[in-house]
Amino acid sequence: MEELSHAEERLDVDAYAKRSPFYPLDPRVKLFCTVALIVVVAVLTSLEAVLLAGAFLILLAIASRIPARHLASNFLLALIFVVFAALTMLLYRGWESALIIGLRISICVLALLIMVSTTPFFKMLRAMRSLRVPKLIASMIMFTYRFIFLLLDEMERMKLARRARGFTGGRNLLDRSALRTLANTIGMTFVRANARATNIYDALLMRGYTGEIREFGRLHVGPKDVVFGACFATVIVLTILLETGVLPWML
């Protein structure tokens, strides 16, 4: 595999997929299990149940062999939302609620990160389609991913052009001239990206694209998928039992 720069590594969702032992698993199983776990975690109110789900995901992250640095750098992108939600709860409901909401969001983000990092992007889109996700949604996700790189390329070119013509970023955060330049840059980035997007869509049409994601090989649920699904099911059942207070009663 070619060497990846840190920035590329973070944006390339397929960077580690093929190295992971979870790579050969049926993407539908991974997607279904992840969504099921997220739905359950999203409604948990018991700290014990949240910690159980969190511990399971940490073990899953270790088993996935995705570098911790990759997971951490992507997790940082979501950290602001975690902190914002936790602070809000801290102000209105106290520290325990803040901790629970922070952990819940973190667990959901980590679950998604493990799934997307261990599943090639187009396999995941295919899994979404086979689980009846509308064609339009799958296409929008595909285009969004492709256009992130285009937007970044365009912004990088415009940043260089600004610098080449003496723009240094303004004297302070409220420098109106600098803000106007940045606003124009953002506007122009979208105009250019739109033109580029039209070309890409035309190129896709020329190559027979109809909105369907096609790949060779039939998706097949095997014994490893069953074990993977059973692990998720066990954790989900245990968290529900903990949440409802049934597990301590049983013990």
Binding site: E2, D14, P120, F121, F122, R146, F149, L150, R196, N199, I200, D202, A203, L204, L205, M206, R207, G208, Y209, T210, E212, R214, E215, F216, G217
Partner: protein, 280 residues
């Protein structure tokens, strides 16, 4: 049989700008045609119409006998491969193999058929061994080859190429011209580079919203009015020999290719014998 046929084709953009006016063109199957003209002449718009991406505002366009309308655009596109000027517009998938296979997979071909076509297209375009490479880290010349391989896997009857040699280094340009020279499909090449146009095509269409010229290369070279109107510049060897003819009073038509220029020099200057030796 005409591979492409335009009758009275005009195209107007949604904002009211007229891009093309009353074009009548027929291109035979297997013919190689160069499409030249100044910036904004409508070359890319014409290629988009020929590719079935735009439907003419007025007039009729047929590709391999199929008349383009809003309902059958997809059928028309199966006959045509369009190579965009910027290969980044065209290359979409995370690996070279997947990108080259994208078209035939969308056409629902069997796995064996797709694998065979991809291997053949990659061999023809000289990108064997690139299967697992990440496209956005290739050089421009390599990207153009990947884009070309992606077109060839679909076995189109017509290849439409928008500035295929633009921004390539001299060797990359030469390699790409060699690649195109071997193709048997009907080819329309939009370019500013007249040396490439003259090398690859015998027929030239000069466009400036309307058709300024439709004929052979020799006629265009001698038509200063069209060259000026379309802001075209003959290749440097051609201009050199034109100037030489003016200064020496010798009469010959300006050459279209380096080989023709060499022949003129051998014929009119002192090295006829040396030329013969060189050929041997």
């Amino acid at each position: 049989m005409d591979a492409l046929r335009l009758e009275g084709v005009s195209y107007r953009y949604a904002d009211g700008r007229t891009a093309l006016e009353d074009l009548n063109i027929s291109i035979e199957a297997g013919e190689r045609v160069a499409l030249v003209g100044p910036n904004g002449a409508g070359k890319s718009t014409l290629l988009h119409i020929l590719a079935g991406l735009f439907v003419p505002t007025t007039g009729k366009m047929t590709v391999m006998g199929v008349e383009l309308n809003r309902k059958n655009a997809q059928e028309v596109r199966r006959h045509v491969g369009l190579m965009f000027q910027d290969p980044d517009d065209q290359i979409f998938m995370p690996s070279v193999w997947e990108d080259v296979a994208f078209g035939p997979m969308n056409f629902g071909l069997s796995e064996d058929e797709v694998r065979g076509r991809v291997a053949e297209a990659m061999r023809m375009t000289g990108i064997e061994g690139f299967e697992e490479r990440v496209p956005h880290r290739l050089s421009l010349g390599e990207k153009k080859r990947v884009a070309m391989a992606g077109l060839l896997t679909m076995s189109p009857d017509v290849l439409l190429l928008d500035e295929p040699t633009a921004n390539l280094d001299p060797w990359g340009r030469r390699d790409f011209v060699d690649l195109l020279e071997k193709r048997k499909e009907t080819i329309v090449i939009a370019t500013h580079d007249l040396s490439v146009a003259f090398h690859l095509a015998k027929r030239v269409l000069v466009l400036k919203r309307k058709m300024l010229y439709d004929g052979d290369v020799v006629g265009l070279i001698q038509n200063q009015e069209v060259l000026r109107e379309a802001r075209l510049e003959l290749p440097s060897f051609s201009r050199l020999l034109q100037r030489w003819a003016e200064e020496t009073g010798k009469e010959f038509r300006p050459p279209a290719t380096v080989e023709e220029a060499l022949e003129i020099l051998r014929h009119n200057y002192c090295c006829r014998d040396q030329g013969a030796k060189h050929e041997h």
